[in-house]
């Protein structure tokens, strides 16, 4: 969209509401309303905060994020609906598909199957945290772009996070080893060969970087 970009440069910082900003705004607003309603609806008063939210600080993508979470809330839920990090996908919510994979202390985990309260004090990395601050993509992301590894790409962020986590521990895998290493992710488009091509390219790029 070169034309739009030019317009924006001429006008300075854009004040128009883009679709993405609108959605992010709704998410942030929803979180506030949600939090308030839980306060009001929570039974038992102050001492027993069943169903209520508590303000905690999470380390997400290298930044401290203060967020109100329920005791029974999963990390995937917090990331998507409280912090607006919707790159993490919820496929099955049952540790059966891998779409919600994030790194916790550099190790891949299904964020649908972790209570948010159990990752306090630990380092959470999502797909949004891979690219450098200047926008340079992570080598594995770049490899996905170049090799066009995915068809519909709903499973993509999970695959990328699983691969990045695996490569941190095993920088030079064979194709078979990598396939085993990221076998905890499903692709319903059955695009596995192309995904593996892309991820092997990503591994190579990481070694060169």
């Amino acid at each position: 969209m070169p034309e739009t970009d030019n317009l924006r440069t001429e006008e300075g910082p854009s004040t128009e509401i883009t679709r993405r900003r609108f959605i992010l705004g709704v998410i942030a607003g929803g979180a506030v309303v949600g939090a308030a309603s839980y306060r009001i609806l929570a039974p038992g008063g102050r001492g027993r905060s069943f169903g209520g939210e508590r303000l905690i600080t999470l380390n997400v993508n290298g930044k401290p994020r203060r967020v109100e979470v329920m005791k029974q809330e999963t990390l995937a839920w917090t990331l998507r609906y409280k912090l607006g990090l919707t790159g993490t996908k919820l496929g099955c919510d049952r540790a059966e598909c891998g779409a919600c994979t994030v790194l916790v202390d550099d190790v891949p985990h299904y964020s649908c199957s972790l209570l948010t309260n159990t990752v306090r004090g630990r380092k959470v990395t999502t797909i949004e945290g891979l690219a450098a601050d200047d926008g340079t993509l992570h080598p594995v992301q770049q490899a996905v772009v170049e090799a066009q590894g995915f068809q519909c790409a709903f499973c993509m962020s999970g695959f990328v996070m699983a691969t990045v986590g695996y490569l941190k521990a095993h920088p030079s895998p064979t194709r078979t080893e990598l396939a085993h290493g990221i076998s905890g992710n499903l692709c319903r488009c059955q695009d596995y060969m192309k995904i593996l091509d892309a991820m092997m390219l990503g591994a190579e790029k990481m070694r060169r970087a």
């Binding site: 919510d93 540790a95 891949p108 159990t118 905890g184």
Partner: protein
């Protein structure tokens, strides 16, 4: 059961930082408390709203329950040690490769990164009627939905059924039984150390419990004695898919050979019965015999004596015969993970020969 239904119902979350505190909390809340280790089994129950504990005691912050320690006699593995850590631990790989092999075949990489040994041995059965919240015997009801003419029981028991026909789903347990592991349990009456096979409770003794833990009890560690370090090991797991799936059956054996003869052996099979099975009759029968295909053949036939198949799981009888045969014959046999299709081929070959 992949249905996303908003967030789980509310519970109180308690996060102790020591085993002592955890036990105190568990005793304080009794049957209202649910112990969560890695959460891989727990969260399914909670998300499906089948179990609704008032209090969840999360053990993930209890550092003293994590890690592998060398002891005077073998190793002690903390109940909260992850399966990935066990599979990668150099000492376990070197001396107790059977366990490393077994936990490496559990579920998927992400699950192994989070699932713990204590959780893996203490997980509940996978019978979908029970897990779906049907009021079956195990759930305290008065019927088994799996053992009816139309019940879906392909994955169910061929041994030890007693009203309940669900099987124990763990992969690590047969390896731990073969290694003669001891489970360390903290109870209100003090510490109890039990043999691996005695940790589990069959439906004939208490149909609503799968292991000896009562409300307030805590499994803290599993000890593996040095006696079986570096023995000849065999592990095989058969499942429908090579990732994620629970075993249709698995087998583990640890053997000491004297020349070509079996001097000592321990064999355990899981996913055939509500309680993990140690095959003591087979162990006794093969002791002193050559570790070869003939002895394996005999062991396989003996192992399936008395098996009672249900409507859809008769395949488990030849499957068990083959797995036990290989676990006894040992060397030169394929190990690791396989699917039913590859086993059917092996079975055909056995029938022809």
């Amino acid at each position: 059961m992949a249905v996303i239904r908003d967030v789980m119902p509310a519970f109180d979350l308690l996060q102790p930082e020591s085993a002592g505190d955890a036990q105190k909390l568990l005793q304080q809340h009794g049957s209202d408390a649910w112990v969560m280790a890695g959460g891989m089994d727990s969260l399914d129950w909670l998300k499906d709203r089948i179990k609704k504990p008032g209090v969840l005691v999360d053990l993930s912050g209890v550092e003293e329950l994590k890690g592998v320690r060398a002891t005077g006699d073998g190793v002690e593995i903390g109940a909260m040690t992850t399966l990935t850590e066990i599979a990668n631990h150099p000492g376990i790989r070197k001396n107790y490769g059977l366990l490393a092999q077994a936990v490496e075949l559990v579920a998927s990489p992400q699950i192994r990164n989070q699932a713990t040994l204590g959780g893996n041995v203490s997980q509940d059965v996978r019978c979908w009627y029970y897990r779906g919240g049907w009021p079956c015997y195990r759930a305290g009801g008065n019927i088994c939905f799996a053992d009816t003419p139309v019940g879906r029981n392909r994955e169910h028991a061929i041994f030890g059924a007693n009203r309940c026909v669900a099987v124990h789903p763990s992969d690590s347990v047969p390896a731990l039984i073969a290694l003669d592991a001891k489970f360390v349990v903290q109870t209100s009456g003090g510490e109890r150390v039990v043999d691996a096979e005695d940790y589990f409770v069959g439906p004939e003794d208490d149909i609503t419990r799968i292991n000896m833990l009562r409300p307030g009890d805590l499994l803290t560690a599993i000890r593996i004695p040095a006696a079986w370090a570096g023995a000849r090991f065999y592990f095989e797991k058969v499942r429908d898919r090579n990732v994620w799936d629970f075993p249709l059956m698995n087998v583990a054996s640890a053997a000491r050979l004297n020349g070509g003869t079996i001097a000592e052996i321990r064999i355990a099979v899981n996913a055939v019965s509500p309680r993990p099975m140690r095959l003591q009759a087979v162990e006794a029968a093969v002791r002193g015999r050559a570790a070869d295909a003939d002895t394996g053949e005999m062991a396989g036939k003996l192992a399936v004596e008395g098996a009672v198949p249900l409507q859809y799981n008769a395949y488990k009888i030849p499957l068990m015969r083959n797995l036990v045969k290989r676990a006894v014959a040992g060397a030169g046999q394929p190990q690791g993970s396989s699917t039913l299709a590859s086993n059917a081929l092996a079975q055909e070959a056995t029938c022809r020969s």
